[in-house]
């Protein structure tokens, strides 16, 4: 809980740091703030408690999810190298502050015990992200992405709120416990108010919008492509992790009593998400856009665990989020380095061709990206394999056979598009010269790679905590 408070204060402190002449201090300061928050967060281990008038529940699940979010944020700040140095990013203090605020929102979403907290968390996270998406002010693509994200995001918020209101109308409570006990009782006597079903539907649609699951995913590719790459990385990791933490929590606690009602429709959406995400990703010419669709497809795998709703689902989601976040940060990090140094049609090149021959010019970057792609594709000895393994285990336990078959087939499609960039890097001749990157940037990327491989070989180190 202290981590939430400290992060909001640190955000404000960061804004004031912006007054300083030297902008060099901002990056280390933000890193320090996040590390402090991480330490404060880990102090909550085994300290079950409710805070803020029973609105926030801190337990080990919260600590785990918050830990993943904070570590991801740390890594992303680690690869944010150009803030304040170039035309695009002229207000580094603000960006870092808003980044910290959005992490605060993510933590609120993870720990919520009351739908009010969920709503506030979602909004703190989202509003911050609208701003960050549009930070590249003079770039029309960034503008467009910001507007689309904003309109779709607030639309989703509207749906979410309508759902909350309807659930409130049916159950008379915003608390997860209150809703759960109503649902339990009502479904036992077979007298569930239709308002609850309507509310549940809208609430879920709102959440699915946020985690970009099909058929509510259409904004994702555009927004991910248009936003500055560093914030795309943030969106596809932190936002997704927090979104699924909240989603699983609400589905498995508040609405556990009407599992039969939502499991069917959610299963259909998981299938749709897997199909659309993977198949469309295979057709993309831009690496960045492919990553957007790939993030949709990973939402599909995570949905699989939500639909399964077995006790091991939670730890499966945790592990998957962690492995996915590590790999995604690395992928976007390399993309950032590549697209900044190679131009295409007057802007950073994010096509597959930009990676041609990277293995020759920058073997380290190529290796980092390869490990990240292998992890996303779920090849053994990477963290991503175990992520898939646990998700599929959960699905087997819940007997979701037909869903599994689709997920498995789609993971093969995934190999195809993840390997396209590996092909470009290793099998295509090099164009242009090597890319120079700073030491801190390289260090962060190497760290993600090492973590990915480490979790791939010894998953029990982390899995036994979850």
């Amino acid at each position: 809980m202290l981590s939430i408070i400290s992060l909001s204060i640190f955000g404000i402190v960061n804004l004031f740091l912006g007054f300083l002449k030297s902008r060099r201090i901002l990056l280390p300061a933000t890193l320090l703030f996040l590390i402090v928050a991480l330490i404060l967060n880990s102090m909550d281990w085994n300290q079950q408690a409710l805070y803020f008038g029973d609105m926030l529940r801190v337990n080990n699940v919260f600590v785990n999810f918050a830990g993943i979010v904070l570590i991801t944020a740390l890594l992303i700040v680690g690869i944010s190298r150009h803030f304040g140095n170039d035309e695009e990013h002229t207000h580094p203090a603000e960006y870092y502050a808003i980044l910290l605020f959005s992490v605060t929102g993510a933590l609120m979403m993870i720990g919520f015990e009351n739908l009010i907290m969920l709503f506030v968390g979602v909004e703190v996270l989202s509003v911050a992200m609208y701003v960050l998406t549009g930070t590249d002010k003079r770039n029309i693509r960034s503008n467009e992405a910001a507007l689309k994200y904003f309109l779709m995001g607030s639309f989703a918020t509207g749906l979410l709120l309508f759902g909350v209101a309807m659930v409130y109308g049916a159950t008379g409570s915003f608390k997860l416990g209150g809703i759960a006990s109503y649902v339990q009782m009502a479904s036992m006597y077979g007298a569930v108010s239709p308002l609850l079903y309507v509310g549940l539907l809208f609430l879920f649609i709102g959440m699915l919008f946020k985690v970009s699951a099909a058929p509510f995913h259409f904004w994702t590719p555009d927004v991910y492509e248009g936003a500055p790459t560093i914030f795309t990385a943030f969106m596809s990791t932190v936002v997704k992790t927090a979104g699924f933490a909240a989603f699983y929590k609400i589905a498995s606690t508040a609405f556990a009593g009407v599992y039969g009602f939502w499991a069917q429709s959610l299963a259909v959406m998981a299938v749709l998400t897997l199909l659309i995400g993977n198949i469309t990703a295979a057709y993309q010419g831009s690496f960045k856009r492919m990553m957007a669709y790939s993030s949709i497809s990973h939402a599909g795998y995570l949905l699989l665990a939500v639909v399964a709703k077995v006790p091991s689902s939670q730890s499966a989601i945790l592990f998957y989020s962690l492995s996915y976040s590590l790999a995604t940060v690395a992928a976007f990090g390399v993309l950032m380095a590549v697209s900044e140094s190679r131009q295409f049609e007057g802007r950073g090149d994010d096509r597959y061709e930009a990676f041609n021959g990277l293995a020759k010019t920058n073997p380290l970057l190529a290796f980092v990206l390869t490990v990240s792609m292998l992890s996303l594709a779920g090849i053994p000895l990477t963290a991503g394999f175990w992520g898939k393994f646990f998700i599929f285990s959960a699905a087997v336990q819940a007997n979701l056979t037909s869903l599994l078959v689709i997920a498995v087939l789609m993971s093969c499609v995934g190999i195809y598009y993840y390997f396209r960039v590996i092909i470009a890097m290793y099998l295509k001749p090099a164009e242009g010269e090597g890319i120079s990157v700073s030491a801190g940037f390289t260090l962060t990327l190497v760290l993600t790679t090492v973590l990915t491989l480490l979790l791939g070989v010894f998953p029990d180190v982390v899995k036994n905590i979850f």
Partner: protein
Amino acid sequence: MPILTTLIFLPLLGAIGLLCLPDSARPVFRWVTLVLCALHLALSSWLWLSFDKQLIGYQFTETFDWITLTLGQFGVISIDYALGVDGLSLPMVWLTSLVMLVGAVSSFEIKTKEKAYFSLYLLLTGTVVGCFVALDLFLFFLFFEFMLLPMYFLVGLWGGPRREYASLKFFLYTLAGSVFILLVMIALYLSAVDPAETALSVGLVKDRAMITDQVLDQVHLAISQLQVDPAQLVHTFDLRYLSDPANYVPESLLSTMAGHEIFGMSARLLAFALLFIGFAVKLPMVPLHTWLPDAHVEAPTPISVVLAGILLKIGGYGFFRIAYELFPDGAVYFAAWIAGLGVLSIVYGAFNALSQNDLKRMIAYSSVSHMGFVLLGLAALTPEGANAAIYQLFSHGILSPMLFLVAGVIYERTHDRSIDGYRGLATPMPSYAAWTAVAFFASLGLPGFSGFIGEFFSLMGAFNSTYVPVWMVVAGGFGLVLGAGYFLWTFQRVFLGKTWTMHDTSVLTDLTFREKAMLVPLGLLSLAFGILPGTLFSITEGYVMEFLKKF
């Protein structure tokens, strides 16, 4: 000295060592690889000689705890680093060493990016050996999938003009197969427990040393009566436990008793079918074979050698070790189908081989055809059939490298592999013609060579089997005739008659010493195993007897 670990990690360390060498050491790379492979062969020959044929079960076992995952109320899952060899895997390990050595000699023709090439080559060696000696299903799967990466790059970076397509196709096919295996693996570990570890976790015994058969029986009884708290169960991937039905929790998905159904089909049968498909892609079996001709045509000669010589064997090995040992009921249920698919592979592969103009493609289809005999022998579930299936794997592992080397010889000289591009090569290249004749005749099943034993006993086993209809055996025999047809016809067109080629005849020099050094030992080995099949049968017999007790 832990010999099996050495066999896996010697090449892997070699690969890392090569990466650390400076680029200026370029001429050394191939020699380092060659020496390592020779050492590898020496070690596995020692393994062969010190293998006790009388003992049943695994020898040279090594077991270390690797990953222990707690699954909350679902118990614990323990993954071990467990290695061992028995009468099935020993020949395969030796074969791996042999083929890898031949491939290393053949790799001398690689002239670009040697450092990467030889590191990947050694990496491939280590992972393939790992596949054959792993006793933990998870460890097996790890090597099985990881082997694809070096293979992918070896085909993709040093291959022919359509290498990207071929390597990706190879990768996707095998991976699609292996995700099916992964699914079954998950269902398996959720169903089966490790009785020894469970005895420890419920506190039946204090120490691992106190575990006796009695204790295990006690655990089995307690599990079958659902007396063990699920949270205390220790789930496992160990093949030794997975192959014993007593270790399956009743009511679990793959238990023999529960009879769960998925899509109206028994879960165990479905699991067997999935495993079968997974390994059939690797074997390859018609209709899942289409990646093989492409991969072979594009791969450089040494990689073709390795691909045909060993990688295909992993499919056959997987049938024995995993699909059949864990799901004998499925094997019996599908026996006729499997035999039918085997016969289809034999005949379809042979007809395709007959119609090819590309020498490598012809050989690739002949591989498909030969692997069909493995399926046929295996499906028979008779001692002759199972022994012959292993024999055929081994023999094909010697002969197909020879065939691809033969194709490589001519390709290296003219960069043309088309069969109708040559005529009467016997005149300018007499010893090449002679050794090609040896390879072809051995492959088409001439008595006296190893190919004959495998094919003949496969057919005989199938004939004696109650599971395989006679007409399939007859059709398989017809495939044998076709095999003779395409090999002889090819030989006649390329080597006999008046010398004619569209290339400059001056490049048609006879075999070099290096090429002879590869072809001659392989030819002699095939002859030796053909005359003395007992050398191999004496090793596989014990395993096969145990294996067939399950059916």
